[in-house]
Point group: C2
Chain length 242, copies 2
């Protein structure tokens, strides 16, 4: 059984203001929940339709019906479990190595994919402008497939941070240097821009090295690459020599 | 005005069997429709809410209301136009250069992103297993952003095609050679596998070179990269020297 109040609380967590108010977020599906359980995230409660599911103390586990799960899921098709976790305290920004900076990424799927890519390439810090989609948005959590537990994500005044930073700052543009012909360092900040508008004018002023993924198509008509795709190529290129 | 029969025809085109029966597909939004108009696709009719929109002969243009557009759109949020195009005759498979082969890609967004990537990197031929999602699925057309007009996509018996092929065949696996340490050729077939299961056992037998994008994360826990992300990195790596 899930009480009306619980349903109200859980479904409210789809909205950022209620996540902030309660300091809670939801995660769904065995894969994602398991990865979060194995990391340092504090489980508040697990709702599942499968009694023998996952090793969680009985006091934090509620066995519920399929129809109850449907009432609390944020997904179009409910999985077999939904967990509520506490939002951890923000950690200090790690300043070593490569850092990925996001200037107003709005699509949850894109942020999720970028977190997964950073995890793959061993990049442990992402810094986001305050307008970037919230990492605890259920769609972001879903898209990270658990790698959110291994990458530190900080929301900051991006312009101010970059202005004060003493490391090299790279950004992707249509008219930058050919990334395949550059010597790329092992530390620095790589800025990626908004889906529709790219990197904003204000942030552009902080960028010291403009980089471009060259087009090979004959007709040169392809407009641009999706930001998650571009991130994949850029991180691959920075990391390929190590 | 859109008649009931027209609504019935247009909305039926979301399904593959009706696209096949009528040899028609739909595209929505100015960007995508414009790119298809500029290529060799034959327009059957354009439905738009904006009278001055796009250069199309009057006989093929219907000015309709927002509420009529809502009745025919395949999108959650209707754009300002929907066009019906004729499905072109399948062209012969181009055998020169690099070819991307898809073994049961099921997600329309992934196929769309892969088509866009091929266009970016100047790869003009994609071959798909018959189980791969249909390129004329409205969600695929939407995700290609028009680049479907510049890449030839063929549905074939993939196993048979690979068995008969005399070119080098590469495939992405978790346990292949480190792609960053290989000499990659300018021609060959690159096979990418299904979202959940990767490359099938039958297709695996046809692959001569297994390749891997190495993980850099310390904990080595990230399960895998999304297939569209992996395609981005693999194509970048094949093309970066040219």
């Amino acid at each position: 059984m899930v009480s009306k109040n619980q349903i109200k609380l859980i479904t409210s967590l789809v909205q950022k203001k209620y996540r902030k108010q309660h300091q809670l977020f939801i995660a769904e599906g065995a894969k994602v929940v398991e990865e979060l359980l194995q990391s340092n995230f504090e489980l508040v409660n697990l709702y599942t339709t499968r009694p023998m599911f996952l090793e969680v103390s009985e006091s934090k586990k509620s066995i519920i019906s399929d129809s109850d799960l449907k009432k609390i899921t944020a997904l179009t098709t409910a999985n077999d479990c939904l967990a509520i976790f506490r939002i951890p305290q923000e950690k200090d920004i790690e300043k070593e190595g490569l850092i990925v900076a996001l200037d107003d990424i709005r699509d949850p799927g894109n942020l999720g994919t970028i977190i997964r890519l950073c995890d793959w390439y061993g990049i442990s810090q992402i810094i986001c402008s305050e307008q970037t989609v919230d990492v605890y948005n259920p769609k972001v959590i879903q898209a990270t497939m658990g790698s959110v537990s291994r990458v530190n994500i900080s929301y900051i005044d991006l312009e101010l941070y970059l202005a004060k930073s003493e490391t090299e700052i790279f950004g992707t543009f249509m008219d930058g240097q050919n990334i395949y012909k550059m010597q790329l360092p092992t530390s620095g900040i790589i800025v990626l821009g908004n889906e529709a508008n790219g990197i904003s004018k204000i942030i552009e002023q902080q960028i010291k090295q403009k980089i471009t993924i060259p087009r090979f198509g004959n007709l040169q008509l392809t407009e641009s690459l999706n930001v998650a795709t571009a991130t994949a190529i850029v991180l691959s290129e920075f990391m390929r020599s190590y």
